[in-house]
């Protein structure tokens, strides 16, 4: 253990609080800073939002995985994804998580989170302190493009709360894909542009289409080509994929594009398209309206309320720490169900990134 790490964290702020006495208090083992969650015993941050000397990254989404750290530990897939997004020099040093590893006085291990390809929960343990599991973003609905979520027993569970309100009960994604196919049958002359984030959601939507028996070509916006190719390279079959560059040929077909493309002139190449959007937020009509969506598809890569509360009930950790999202809702549920919970109020994670 390195005392220096305890006194000053990498954000340059003194880590206040009383002097530590054994066994180590959870608050001293892991705590929020401006740069993200910091573990002084191992001198590393988890999903830091600014460059730090050492970072553990749960998954490749841009608000969790940023470029410019001194050293990064993540799953092999997450490291690959970061290299695709930021270039090979996204970090000075890297280490693929492969079985338990020791960093300073901390035993670190990565476990599938079921969110996107390569996504992981990070388990932290030290000899005289509590076991903490940082879930990152996670999802318990089976997902064809990544390994399923696994329970990781712990004393403290750090959970996301993106959909931490009881109104969020994501439907079966197969049902949503059936709605997309029904609309394509109803409007055979109109291209269906499906807005989906380039990493994870896009490939999941394609895999769901294939699972539903849709075998025609799926057209891709250029921004998702490289990451989709990577999924195929990893052995995930996505069928016939083509670039969405020749509008005349893609009428009446499915086109997957990042939602930001709908605000750009790119979309002007399509005549009378049906704008669709695959996101958990689409469960709320006002959200779909705000985005000008004609066919909202409720497909989410995050736990919904029943999954989140079921997870807490199954793990029954001594404490629940709630990070980004609807913290108040989850904290309230814990209060009603006899669990000790508190919001971490981390900054820098995008509520909309789903």
């Amino acid at each position: 253990m390195r005392p220096a790490a305890r006194c000053v964290n990498a954000a340059g702020q003194p880590a206040d609080g009383p002097a530590r006495s054994d066994p180590m208090r959870a608050d001293d083992f892991l705590f929020p800073t401006d740069a993200g969650l910091f573990c002084p015993a191992g001198d590393f941050f988890i999903d830091p939002v600014r460059p730090v000397p050492r970072a553990l990254i749960t998954h490749g989404h841009g608000d969790h995985a940023r470029a410019g750290h001194g050293a990064v530990m993540a799953t092999r897939e997450t490291l690959d994804i970061m290299a695709i997004r930021y270039g090979e020099n996204f970090t000075a040093a890297r280490q693929a998580a492969d079985g338990p590893a020791r960093i300073g006085g901390v035993e670190v291990s990565f476990h599938p989170a079921g969110h996107i390809l390569g996504s992981a929960q990070i388990r932290l343990a030290c000899d005289d302190g509590p076991v903490i599991t940082v879930s990152g973003d996670y999802c318990r609905t089976p997902n064809l493009v990544c390994a399923p979520w696994e329970p990781v027993p712990c004393d403290i569970f750090v959970t996301e709360a993106t959909f931490g309100l009881p109104v969020f009960k994501h439907p079966d994604p197969a049902h949503e894909i059936a709605r997309l196919l029904a609309s394509m049958a109803e409007f055979p002359g109109r291209a269906h542009l499906v807005g989906a984030y380039a990493l994870g959601k896009a490939q999941r939507v394609i895999a769901l289409l294939r699972q539903a028996g849709f075998e025609a070509p799926v057209h891709l916006h250029g921004a998702m080509q490289r990451l989709t190719d990577y999924h195929v390279e990893q052995g995930i079959p996505l069928g016939d994929l083509r670039p969405a560059t020749t509008p005349k040929e893609i009428e009446g077909q499915v086109v997957i594009a990042p939602p930001s493309a709908f605000a750009s002139p790119w979309v002007q190449r399509f005549r009378d398209p049906v704008i669709c959007f695959a996101s958990g937020w689409m469960a709320v009509r006002a959200r779909a309206r705000q985005r000008g969506v004609e066919l909202p598809l409720v497909i989410s890569d995050h736990v919904d309320w029943p999954q989140l509360t079921q997870t807490l009930a199954e793990l029954r950790p001594e404490q629940v720490w709630v990070t980004h999202g609807a913290e108040e809702g989850v904290v309230r549920w814990c209060e009603l169900n006899g669990l000790d919970a508190r919001p971490l109020r981390l900054v820098g994670y995008e509520d909309e990134a789903e």
């Binding site: 309100l165 009881p166 109104v167 969020f168 009960k169 439907p171 709605r179 609309s183 109803e186 409007f187 709908f262 605000a263 750009s264 002139p265 790119w266 979309v267 002007q268 399509f270 005549r271 009378d272 398209p273 704008i275 469960a283 709320v284 009509r285 006002a286 779909a288 309206r289 705000q290 985005r291 000008g292 969506v293 004609e294 066919l295 909202p296 609807a326 108040e328 809702g329 309230r332 549920w333 009603l336």
Partner: protein
Amino acid sequence: MKAFAALLERLAFTPARNAKLTILQHYLERTADPDRGHALAALTGDLKLRAVTPGLLRGLAAERFDEVLFALSYDFVGDLAETIALIWEGPGGADLPLADAVRLLETTGKAGLPAAIAGVLDRLGPSERLAFLKLATGNLRVGLSARLARTALAQMGGPTLAEIEEIWHGLNPPYPELFAWIEGGPRPDRAALAPFRPVMLSTPITLEELRGLDPAEHIAEWKWDGIRVQAVSEGGVRRLYSRTGEDISGAFPDLIDEMNWEGAVDGELLVRREGAVATFNDLQQRLNRKTVSRALLTSHPAGLRVYDLLIWGGADLRPLPLIERRKVLEAADFRSDRIDISQLLPFGTWDDLAALRAEPPAPVIEGVMIKRRDAPYVGGRPRGPWFKWKRDPRVVDAVLMYAQRGHGRRSGFYSDFTFGLWSDDALVPVGKAYFGFTDEELRELDRFVRANTTERFGPVRAVAPKLVVEVAFEGVNRSARHKSGVAMRFPRISRIRWDKPAAEADRLETLEAMIDTPNVFDAEGARAGVRHGRTKRRGGGEAPQEAGAARPLDGVETPSIPAGYLDEEE
């Protein structure tokens, strides 16, 4: 209920009229009786159910859910029925025929209603729960008019829209005989008295086009700025219909009382005070009401100016030439000082008529109507027998302030524009327009918006106040609902003034001076800067098909006039 829920959801998110029609037509073709009939009635507003109140819904939520979690959820979702539909816990899975849901809402007493509703919610999935609650609260909000619903019926391949409208008011939900007719069965007996008959509509014309016609074969009348109605009084049943067949009798009991005759007449509904015709703004106060207060009946008395007879003295006059119908009209006694007949304008040449049109005797005249003497009364819009020759629109030069992305064919284009006028040193938004420009101009406007964005709010962008657009409109009223205090009728972009500096755009006072202008050609109006559009553009003057399609931006929406009332709405 599953199919109905899917229908409501698609309609609610589909802005384009034709796509809405396709969705509804498919639903009606694929759904069995009586569910489809109940769905149709729900959409046309003909389903009379006990309205479930928000208070009842709040009570249901309070019984089942933690107050804090419900409040957080409601705060996020923003709609009470939707929050309850989403948060409700139950096995779901089961379905409930729409007819059963309707029967339950029709027959359950007030005391038993909360438990009955909770029981239904327990059985349904989330989409069906929302559809059921929307049905129960009587607020479907899918942006579809009764007329559009009947248009979908006509697309099913049987009777035409005109034929359906003619019997519509004699039918009751769930309309089994109507669907049987559409699918090849016999036409339902027209059981109802005082039915609606399809209205004869006119087409626009210009002076150049008129020169190809013989003035001697035509009559002309003033075109009054009221709303076109069909007043029918038969066998003791009296009804007032809009030109699309909506029964608006409830809003005009004063006029209904005066219909002491037998027949079906075509005319203009106006507000009249001591003989003078009041402005359209006055008439608008009377529209869209289920009931009307005594005070409003006194301050805004309704009257009717008749210009044609369809049925009179027990005879169907529609096959007769106009001039024969006109003889009967001039001899008719309406036995009311609120009902008179439209006078013919004396003219020998089209230039005579142009001179009359240029100096109308009353402010609420919006042009002249020209009709062939020998034409029978034909429902629909035959090209030729009836023309409207409207006065030129008014125009102001305004500054583009905000733009919003369009839908459907305009996906990806900033096509809905909010514009403003100068007041002191600031721009005040005065209206919104999304037509009047060509496709090429739309591309140019889109490029301008992207290059000059200063702020973004979801699909809306604020743009630097640099571009002047000439906005043409049919009139302007005072409006307490709009920040600027004025509301324009049918604003559209008639010209893009790339050449004009924004500082030289018009001031709000200029627009205010056009309010209730007694005569657009009078001296006062001219001093205040009232001008007239030089050229009428293609597509100008066309209102959107569906009032629900437009999304307001911070109180600058065109005031909503019920779909189908207005002549402009084609």
